[in-house]
């Protein structure tokens, strides 16, 4: 049996090259085929289909995108509106199946995209914890075992049995964050660093995110706030019109991105 000291001294059996990536995207392609005009009724659809008047316009949200993210990496994603950043997150969280290429995601994905998904205002904070957690795939038995920690983290002990219609938006966000991060995921997807509650609570959230990272969670942060990316990310990627425009150390990519922005 090896002791902690032994393993620490022994050379790592897994060199960085052989560590399995948390997220591996190969030639990802997402092509939307949208009708040129909005069709709202089935009758209209069938008529257009029969008369051959159904026209589609192709829209590439992502094109030949390759990306490899390892456990414990904190990667920032920059790009203009409509560049394909959100689509990228959807492909990784398997909400969207790419029309081409291959996605491999190892482990559990926690999307910090929609805090409090499925929250219902007539139900209590406690009831909503179970519902929200169920949407992430956590069983009620597991949630029950960790309920006290979730409530403690959200700092809502006094209000947890009140209907959440009485909560402030800050309280809702706190509860949502506590549920979304109740377990350390293998992959954390963040769309803009959330302004959750007061400064003290925000710090607590950031501390939890960084603790996840130090324990091996791969984090992807999409943001328009350059400072946020510069502060947290070790690596950054720049997406432009669905394609990877630049990839590398955060400051270099941010530098090129702001120059590119100045040009146009």
């Amino acid at each position: 049996m090896t002791t902690v000291a032994d393993t620490a001294q022994a050379p790592s059996r897994e060199s960085p090259q052989t560590v399995e990536s948390a997220i591996a995207l190969t030639s990802i392609e997402v092509r939307f085929s949208m009708p040129t005009e909005r069709i709202v009724s089935f009758k209209e659809y069938v008529l257009k289909r029969i008369t051959g008047k159904l026209e589609h316009r192709e829209l590439w949200a992502l094109r030949s995108l390759n990306l490899d993210i390892r456990p414990g990496e904190f990667v920032g994603v920059v790009g203009r509106n409509g560049a394909g950043k959100s689509t990228l997150l959807k492909v990784i969280s398997r909400v969207l199946t790419p029309t081409g290429g291959r996605v491999v995601v190892r482990g559990q994905v926690a999307p910090l995209l929609e805090l409090g998904a499925g929250f219902h205002y007539d139900l209590t904070g406690r009831e909503n914890v179970f519902l929200n957690a169920a949407l992430f795939g956590y069983s009620s038995r597991v949630v029950q075992a960790h309920l006290a920690e979730v409530i403690a983290f959200s700092e809502l002990e006094e209000f947890i049995d009140l209907p959440i219609r009485n909560y402030s938006s800050g309280m809702l966000a706190r509860l949502g964050f506590a549920v979304a991060t109740m377990f350390r995921p293998d992959i954390l997807l963040i769309d803009e660093l959330l302004a959750v509650g007061d400064a003290g609570f925000q710090e607590k959230c950031l501390a939890r995110i960084h603790e996840f990272r130090s324990q091996g969670t791969a984090i992807l942060l999409v943001s328009h706030q350059m400072e946020a990316i510069a502060d947290h990310c070790t690596r950054a990627i720049w997406i432009e019109r669905g394609q990877l425009k630049a990839e590398g150390p955060t400051d270099e990519v941010l530098q090129r991105y702001s120059e590119g922005f100045a040009e146009s």
Binding site: G101, G107, L113, G118, S140, F183, R208
Partner: protein
Amino acid sequence: MTLSSTSAPTSPALRRQVYDSAKRPHPAIEEAQELVRFWDLVLQWSRRNIKLRYKRSILGVLWTLLEPLMLMTILTIVFSQVFRFEAGDYPYPLYILSGLLLFDFFNRSTLQIVEETVASLGLASRIYVPRSAFAVATVITYLVSWAIALIPLFGIMLFLHHPLSWALVTIPLGMLITALFALGAGLLVATLGAFFHDVKLTYQVLLTGWLYATPIIYPLEIVPPQFQKYFLLNPLYHLVVLVRDPVILGRVAPVENWLAAIGFSLASLAVGWWVFATQRSVFDYRS
């Protein structure tokens, strides 16, 4: 291992699960696998629906009981007094109510599946969840309502001194088969209804027609014999017999009705599931 107030344990559920887009099973199979994995969501969502229905007001529960009773009273008066339908050796109100509860379940649950599917589109475009979970939860919700509505039905049986037979225990099985049929039909309508608003409106009209095409408020015997064979093609007819025969005749429904009902339900579920699951990417890529 002790946990500080800020640290969170590693996720126990779904851990080290690998998602590889190149190795995905067929959508219909994948949807079923994911539904099993998210079964707790189905139960939580059903509980939520039931809680919400009964939380709003005490009338919520009462309404579930009162609505079919009132409809039964009206229909009984209209059909037995005005049209003078002759029922067999059983009280006409029981005939109407037992069938009406089934139709009410089918009507509401299928329409609600369309609603829930449309409502979940936004959520399901941000978080991965098997969309069928909401449809299954809807069916469970209305099954519970149906079960509650059986209480006044049994109450009326006692009130009318109608014998309660052992055959009544087969009703839950009939309800379950009906639920599978409703799930399939609901998924099918929901797939189209998610894109086109006229689908739901058309389906609503169809439902009204379906009620009158099924011997629920009138006995099958008043239909001219040469047309009666066409009624056998109506899945709801067989399903109604399963839950009505134990009430009015005190017997288990004939085996041919069971077989037809099961056949129709499995076919409905297979078609509905297939269409719903294989059109998944269309949901994602809808404009």
